[in-house]
Assembly symmetry: C2
Homo-oligomer: 411 residues x 2
């Protein structure tokens, strides 16, 4: 028997498999209605268009598309993305864009270029579990700032930064998901965005803006993106996974060229380049204006699903003091808070037995917290599944509400 542990890095020793992804496996059993994953609706994938673009790419430029490509990404695609961002109020050129192998790679590169073990970074409580994992793997010390209905509480954020400054320290960056935050669904108000930028300027900080859902607004006015408000201090991450499809594993990073250059160098040692084939297909798709149309299609469909889920929540959920959920204006998720005495982690097994699944809130906290919360996705399931799933979940909550003490005694 070989003792493999002796060879492992501290990172590997400290790694835990993602709770979400482990739970996702449970939820793949037939019959389960899963509100767990952040999966887009596969029925909306534009399969015929993609088939057409594959054909075009392979006939027109197969030899280039199937070869290695530049680390920065396909220049034509970068230009299309710069144009798209220009329309969103961001004054940026393609030189400021790096194509990444999914925005999860963007998060890994952020960890690689910024974080040494023990470095402090600021995050929200709760926040995206994949970001926690990526930053954790570089040994980041994550300081969590509570969210409220307007987003990260910038007063608390500033207070922590002042405390760090008193110790001669400062965070390597502030990690934010301003639009339809994962997992809470909350969008940061304009006032808070301005405050955040003011803080970054005052204390000479940079912000990593994670923007997977920004284009998925169903109603209300879009606030400016952080990178649109300050192009010098913000590094932004975007992905095609939610607005088009995840199967290509493509996203992009935008920001000051000094930082983009560092990310390019880091990417050379990570995967040389993102798939030139998939990039070519995307370029053809974007250059025909198809993505803009697709985003409208998706937005409409997800709005209906959100409305329907909210409706069914109101209809089926038991009237319990403290039981509440968010009303997001876009994105993919509702965030449900149970009465404080209830534990969403303990209730999870009962939910899976009842054939319905969610993600336990504690997964979105780097330390403790969120144990009476869970995240529900409304983009993936069909209308019939949403109704049936909410009904089952309401029953589980209703049965479970008095059971906490019992479950602790059970072995």
């Amino acid at each position: 028997m070989i003792n493999y542990d002796q060879f492992l890095s501290n990172t590997a020793k400290g790694m835990k498999r993602s709770e979400i992804r482990e739970l996702l496996k449970l939820t793949r059993k037939p019959g389960i209605i899963s509100f767990a994953g952040g999966l887009p609706a596969p029925d909306l994938f534009p399969i015929d268009d993609i088939k057409e673009m594959c054909k075009i790419v392979l006939e027109k430029e197969g030899k280039t598309a199937l070869q290695y490509g530049p680390t920065e990404g396909d220049n034509r695609l970068r230009e299309e993305l710069a144009k798209m961002m220009n329309k969103d109020g961001v004054n940026i050129s393609s030189d400021h864009i790096l194509i990444v192998t999914s925005s999860q790679q963007g998060l890994d590169l952020v960890g690689k270029i910024f974080v040494d073990p023990g470095d402090v970074i600021m995050i929200s409580r709760p926040t995206y579990v994949g970001a926690i994992q990526a930053f954790h793997s570089y040994g980041a010390k994550m300081m969590g700032i509570e969210l409220d209905q307007e987003g990260t509480q910038t007063i608390l954020l500033e207070a922590e930064i002042v405390k760090l400054a008193a110790k001669g320290s400062k965070p390597k960056f502030i990690y934010e998901i301003p639009d339809f935050q994962n997992p809470s669904g909350i969008t940061m108000s304009l006032k808070r965005r301005k405050e955040l930028i003011r803080i970054a300027e005052k204390y000479d900080l940079i912000i990593v803006e994670d923007s997977p859902y920004r284009q998925l607004r169903f109603e209300g006015k879009s606030e400016p993106s952080l990178i649109g408000m300050n192009s010098e201090r913000i590094l932004s991450l975007y992905t095609f996974s939610k607005i088009l499809l995840p199967g290509f594993r493509l996203g992009w990073m935008a920001g000051p060229s000094e930082l983009i250059q560092k990310a390019v160098t880091a990417k050379q040692s990570v995967d040389l380049c993102s798939s030139p084939f998939n990039q070519s297909i995307l370029y053809e798709y974007l250059s025909r204006g198809l993505l803009e149309k697709q985003i409208i299609v998706i937005g409409k469909a997800y709005k209906e699903k959100r409305d329907f889920m909210l409706d069914k929540m109101t209809q089926y959920m038991p009237k319990l003091p403290g039981l509440k959920w968010t009303q997001p204006q876009g994105g993919l998720f509702l965030w449900v808070t149970l009465p404080e005495s209830m534990d969403a982690g303990e209730m999870f097994i009962a939910a899976v037995e009842k054939q319905v699944a969610y993600v336990v809130g504690s997964a979105f906290y780097p330390d403790s917290g969120g144990s009476n919360c869970f995240r529900m996705n409304f983009s993936y399931s069909s209308m019939a599944e949403i109704e049936e799933g909410v009904k089952r979940l309401a029953q589980v909550i209703d049965t479970w509400k008095g059971r906490r003490e019992t479950s602790i005694i059970t072995p």
Copy 2:
């Protein structure tokens, strides 16, 4: 002006952009014949087959192929790869295989799961520049062991390991490219392979076997792969980039399940999963036996190119004492050694002026060394380009042979 340096990790501060990839940019100018990149011949890409497989995948399973997939990779593809490895004498099941986003990602994951800053790893001198970059980014201290015609000199390797042991230390792993090594083209003899395994067992070590070219043998008998000789101590990396096409960015890692599981967890934070779309296309391609046929086609074509390049080298190169090159039995590269007084780095500018390019030998050394060597690729260029390129290079060497001192004086 923002001082971005203050936010950078030690890794980012220490990162140098890959010399190879920077030079590759120079060599993309029109008119230049480049022997620099390790690029496969695009004329051999099976474009029509890929087009057909794309169509099949999108029609049959578009909704799954364009969705997220499991981190471990497509099970069907993993099974095909296990079968392929079984035929190569490796007793392995699909549980021991992880699909990676190119074998460069495999190297990055190896760095992530094994290396803490300052950890010693053993490499060959010279070795693959992308491995140096990946391990460097995790702060590895690389100890280089000289190669000879039989591969890494295991006597020297053992001596270094004994020295480390005397200090109470040992390497985290030994990195090897046993078949048609990059950059040297050298294949490790069976005797040395056995020695290497004996050393790993005696000193309780693991070996990372990088195998991008193994299937590209043009002649002679294949030696067993290291993982075929010991499945407990070897983690092997393979890629589709050289045997099929690089544009999908797919490869695989095979090894003990304890280590594969660690790599899976690390991959969750790095890119969640490799492109399910590209994996589905590859599965369809492999399951029809097309890859085996394609490897035969590629092997034949590259053998002709190697023969032709060796021929032209003999024909055109000046007769200089000390000027020599390897005669690889497979792979993609020749390794040229100039007389000791000559510097391939200084000569590179003259070569590019003469419209021909190679990779300077020093790129393949983590410290110093290789300054009078360079690597030539024979897979990418056409026959006509090979002849003309070798002719140009011979002229450059001939003109440059007495010039070293002059060039040093030049500012």
